[in-house]
Amino acid sequence: MSTTTKLDLTDAAPAKPEKARPRRSLRANSTLNFWLFTSPFLIGLVIFVFVPMGWSIYLSFFEARFTVSPSEFIGLDNYKAILDNPDFTGSLVTFTVFAAFIVPTTWALSLGLALLVHRLTFMKAFFRSVFFIPTAVSYVAAALIWKMSIFNGVRFGLANTVIGWFGVENTAWLANPDPPWYWLVIVTLRLWLQAGFYMILFLAALQNIPAELYEAASIDGAKPGWQTFRYITLPQLRATSTAVILLLLIAAYQAFDEFWNLLGKATWGQPPLVELYKTALGESQDYGQGSAGAVILTVLILIITLFQGKIMGFGRGEESK
């Protein structure tokens, strides 16, 4: 049975073909569509990102304790004060070292996982999901699981139970900075949470490498394994690697949730954002000094990102590689 709707044909169509109705040009429609679909996001971006950023820059030049509508202009005093705060400057140094460690580690782990999963011939989807699922867990929830169940200091904590099998005494993983076991807790948590996401990026990139490249390499005598990986896979992943490293760098400096929940009232292992949170939104309620710190951190991230982009060629065209 036909499902086509029968039209009313009482008014017969004119014999002479009707002249095409004037239409808005495709270009005009494209412009309208562009604004229609992007404007909600642009408005959100302006209201929730650019206005606060601008306000933050404004606040950084004012005495703004317990207020975000200050009136006393103090020039660069907030910048001097935050740079004179050893906790903040120390956090910048600590997290540059942290970034230098966690970025390559996460990069290597996620790439390794992607290579493993990519080569799987069975249960591929299962293992892809297994490694990706932690990405969906909130940093706060994961930090509490790590702190209260796995790395707590009592005898029935998972980590202490395991080391207890080997005759090792209970360890206070987070309360005692010497030895700094807290880094083990933080790094394992971060790797667990992040590696799956970057693995997916690498998997997508791996699937885009043409099989012909491997065939050509094989014909030319390249040995499968390290040689193929070194000279074909890795160069083909360059764009993805650059993006992954960029995202990891920014994430390292923007670390907050797990550090806040794991270390509490510590003076070590404190990321810049936690220091700024304490300054602006915590005990001090100094929005001026906190804003000055935020500006400094933004500039630092910008410089490092541009520097990294320059080294790795982020944004260059394929032909220029």
Binding site: V154, A175, T267, L281, E283, S284
Partner: protein, 418 residues
């Protein structure tokens, strides 16, 4: 077929419908969880999450019983109540009424309202120390709801087994903790970051946080020596650290993970239920030659947001609940955890506090309790947290840590007092 099928869904109709739904949504949001009602004022109050079962329901029950306004309660979980309260106070969604501790900067920045007019008529019925800790230039800025003494809980049976006595000095405490420690039970739990005992350490060393002139009074040789002793205790391996539940929860003590725990009187009913008569309490012992016993008096107070649009209604509600409704005040102090009612008339009639361990808690509170100093702000407390972190947990020089603390506290004092 329904009539709806005949509607011509052109772009205008769709747009009109969408706008209508958005408007309806907006209106629905207005009638949501805002605490506003068509009859009377709508008020919002902030409470941190108390650990004792039934407290949230109690606060909401009191609020519901108030007929003059629709009072919405935000029960804020997590251990950083101030990190949620302070930013909220800067916004239009700030609570009208909130609980906190007396803090001078909240007065100087105009965040809390003067409540003298509602407290003065019953001022003499309050603990004078509680009134003093909420007073600035003769004006009273908060109503104390509960006083919460904090001290050491211990198991007499374990003391007997280890043949040790209740310690009188910090040195003795360290020795006792050493003797109580076994392969299964740690000697003591002072909180995961040791900060709960920072103020008692200062007081027990014969010092104070600030003196009468609002100058630094904590930086003494005895305090520095006490910090060194705490460091010795920290590295002895005899302290319980990284417990899943922190010091305000008595789980570590009731589960037998520790023989001594620093905790508050609020936990007394739970501890007694778990351990029966095998529980004792003692104050923070003396530190140094001029040392004194000390007990922290925590507690919470009600404040009214001075910038509230419903200022008068908020003050009326606070007066109704925390001044007029003695029945609710007694219920709040004694039906869940144990707290000492700041109203003398209620405290005197509180039979639950008249005998046994609760009575002993009241005695320690009366003899050795230290009340809030309104000029000792959250920022200064955080600076001393850093002293504990750097000198006790990290092993830095106590003198250097105290010097660094002085710098931060003096900057804060300068901002407060010029």
């Amino acid at each position: 077929m329904s009539a709806m099928s005949n509607v011509n869904w052109d772009r205008r109709t769709v747009l009109r419908a969408a706008m209508g739904m958005a408007a309806a949504g907006g209106l629905a949001a207005c009638g949501g969880n805002t605490g506003r009602s068509s009859s009377g004022e709508g008020l919002t109050q902030y409470f941190h999450a108390y650990g004792e079962a039934g407290t949230e329901q109690a606060i909401k029950r009191y609020a519901k019983a108030y007929k003059e306004a629709n009072v919405t309660t935000q029960w804020i979980t997590g251990s950083n109540f101030e990190n949620k309260l302070f930013p909220a106070l800067l916004t239009k969604n700030a609570p009208d009424v909130f609980e906190f501790h007396p803090q001078l900067q909240m007065v100087t920045s105009g965040q809390v309202a003067d409540l003298s007019d509602i407290i003065n008529p019953v001022k003499d019925d309050f603990n004078p120390a509680d009134i003093a800790s909420h007073t600035v230039d003769g004006k009273i800025y908060g109503v104390r709801m509960i006083d919460d003494p904090q001290f050491f809980y211990y198991r007499p049976s374990l003391f007997e087994k280890a043949k040790v006595e209740v310690p009188q000095t910090l040195e003795e405490l360290i020795e006792v903790i050493d003797k109580l420690t076994t392969s299964k039970v740690k000697g003591a739990f002072l909180g995961n970051d040791i900060t709960p005992v920072q103020s008692p350490l200062i007081w027990s060393a014969g010092a104070d946080t600030l003196n009468d002139k609002n100058e630094i009074a904590y930086h003494t040789d005895a305090v520095a020596d006490g910090l060194s002793q705490l460091r010795k205790l920290f590295t002895s391996g005899n302290l319980l650290l990284d417990a899943p539940a922190d010091w305000w929860d008595p789980s570590a003590f009731t589960q037998g993970l520790t023989a001594i725990q620093w905790c508050g009187m609020w936990a007394m009913p739970v501890i007694q239920k778990a351990l029966g008569d095998d529980v004792g309490i003692f104050p923070f012992p003396k530190v140094g030659d001029s040392g004194k016993f000390s007990v922290t008096n925590g507690g919470w107070s009600m404040f009214v947001n001075a910038k509230s649009k419903n200022l008068d209604a908020a003050k009326e509600y606070v007066k109704w609940l925390w001044i007029d409704q003695k029945e609710y005040q007694e219920d709040w102090a004694l039906s869940y955890g144990f707290h000492i009612p700041p109203r003398t008339s209620i405290a005197q009639s509180a039979t639950k506090l008249k005998s046994g361990l609760p009575a002993e808690g009241v005695k320690l509170f009366s003899e050795y309790g230290h009340f809030d100093n309104i000029a000792w702000t959250q920022s200064m407390i955080a600076s001393v947290n850093d002293v504990i972190a750097n000198s006790v947990r990290k092993g830095g020089s106590p003198e250097a840590s105290l010097d660094a603390c002085d710098k931060k506290v003096n900057a804060e004092l300068k901002k407060l007092f010029g």
